[in-house]
């Protein structure tokens, strides 16, 4: 379960989040929508433990994030979360497979099983033949598939995706979302996708809309 309780956040004089409460049950999928500047990315950063809110609490799988040190929050993020960004953010010095294996290697897994698992996931996503390609040699859609594999390889409890298809054409976007939804559904992984696109939102069970740092609807992750 992922939960924000009365979260508030300011950047200097700018109020980014005001009294935001949101709960996503295990296995649920939520689209976090809103215009640019509405606070959706700030909320995502708080839920991921990248930013500590000024007020309120963030609870991830029963652990209150705001009380943890930076190091412990990083560890919890590594163990329990997968993250997908708009542009994939793969490490350019590594191949696609090495990028996908990264979370398992950081968690201390042996490279043999990590490699096998990575190849398996790349196969599921239809790009096994690109495993040894450099990130610069593949298309945006292929790089984003690798980013999805990297987010899922360590079987996280939740995947947080920030505009994961924002840089893709509609056919590639559809394929990425289908893959994300299918993989998270089959593993019971909670999925939160930040988007401003209704077509993206329609892939997910629930939609939450933000405006001026507050949640407009629904109040706490109820079906929308």
């Amino acid at each position: 379960m992922l939960e924000a309780r009365h979260v508030g956040l300011s950047y200097g004089a700018t109020r980014a989040l005001s009294d935001v409460s949101l709960r996503i049950d295990r296995g649920g999928s939520v689209a976090l929508m809103g215009a640019s500047g509405s606070g959706k990315s700030s909320l995502l950063h708080c839920l991921a433990g990248v930013v500590v809110p000024d007020e309120g609490e963030v609870v991830v799988g029963g652990i209150e994030l705001t009380g943890l040190s930076d190091r412990d929050r990083s560890r919890l993020r590594l163990e329990r979360m997968g993250v997908v960004f708009q542009f994939g953010d793969l490490v350019p010095e590594l191949t696609l497979l090495e990028n996908v294996m990264l979370p398992l290697q950081l968690l201390g897994h042996r490279s043999g099983p990590a490699r096998a698992r990575g190849l398996d996931l790349l196969g599921v996503l239809g790009i096994a033949e690109l495993a040894n390609s450099s990130t610069g040699a593949v298309s945006g859609g292929q790089a984003q598939r690798a980013a999805v594999a990297r987010a899922m390889i360590h079987e996280p409890a939740m995947v947080l995706a920030d505009e994961p298809t924002g840089a893709l054409d509609s056919i590639n976007a559809e394929a990425i979302l289908d893959a994300l939804v299918a993989m998270t559904t089959s593993t019971g992984t909670t999925l939160l996708v930040v988007t401003h696109d209704n077509l993206v939102a329609s892939h997910l069970q629930t939609m939450v809309t933000m405006h001026d740092g507050s949640i407009l609807s629904p109040a706490a992750g109820a079906p929308a």
Partner: protein, 213 residues
Amino acid sequence: MRLAGLRCRVPESCIHRSSPARVAPWVYLWSIVLKVSSTEAVLALLEPEPAYGYTLKHQYDRWFGRKRPLGFGQVYSTLSRLERKGWIAQSQVQAGHGPERRLYEITADGVTAIDGWVGTPQAPDLFATSSLYARVTVALLSGRDAGQVLAGQRKVHLERMRELQASRRQAQGPDLLAITYELTHLDADLRWIEESGTRLTSMTGEDGGAIDA
């Protein structure tokens, strides 16, 4: 309450003031529709004050029928239908040299029917928005909550899009094209709904209660 070209004689109890708005004339340019439900639209035109069929035909054409003006025959068949339903009544009949002139007025049941029509989201088929325009326009003209009309339709659209996404994952060939065609159009509707929601905020005057056109 002021409506475009109309002086309101509706009893105060029949006037909805849940979200009064003051709207500039240009608002109605984009509110004019290609095709709407003439029955409900004609009924809504009788809400501000009683009117003759001739007047209703011209008001309908102004607000709803730019590309599809209503024929006089359609006006009178619609009025007969509304009268049978008990939503309007003849308040006055003037005899003269030509045909009798009948003045029609809305009944309390008629006002309730408009409430239901404006407030009930439609099945989100491909042409839902043309009638959505009409419901939003009537909401704006009558002081009902146009934002609620948009929000209700948005919810229904999203539910339909989720259904379509689930079907798309199994679909192939022409079925797939049909589903993505509908999805794309619903997405366009939603963008219009969201944009209109934003515009509604700027249309609402501080004094409230009055609509000019």
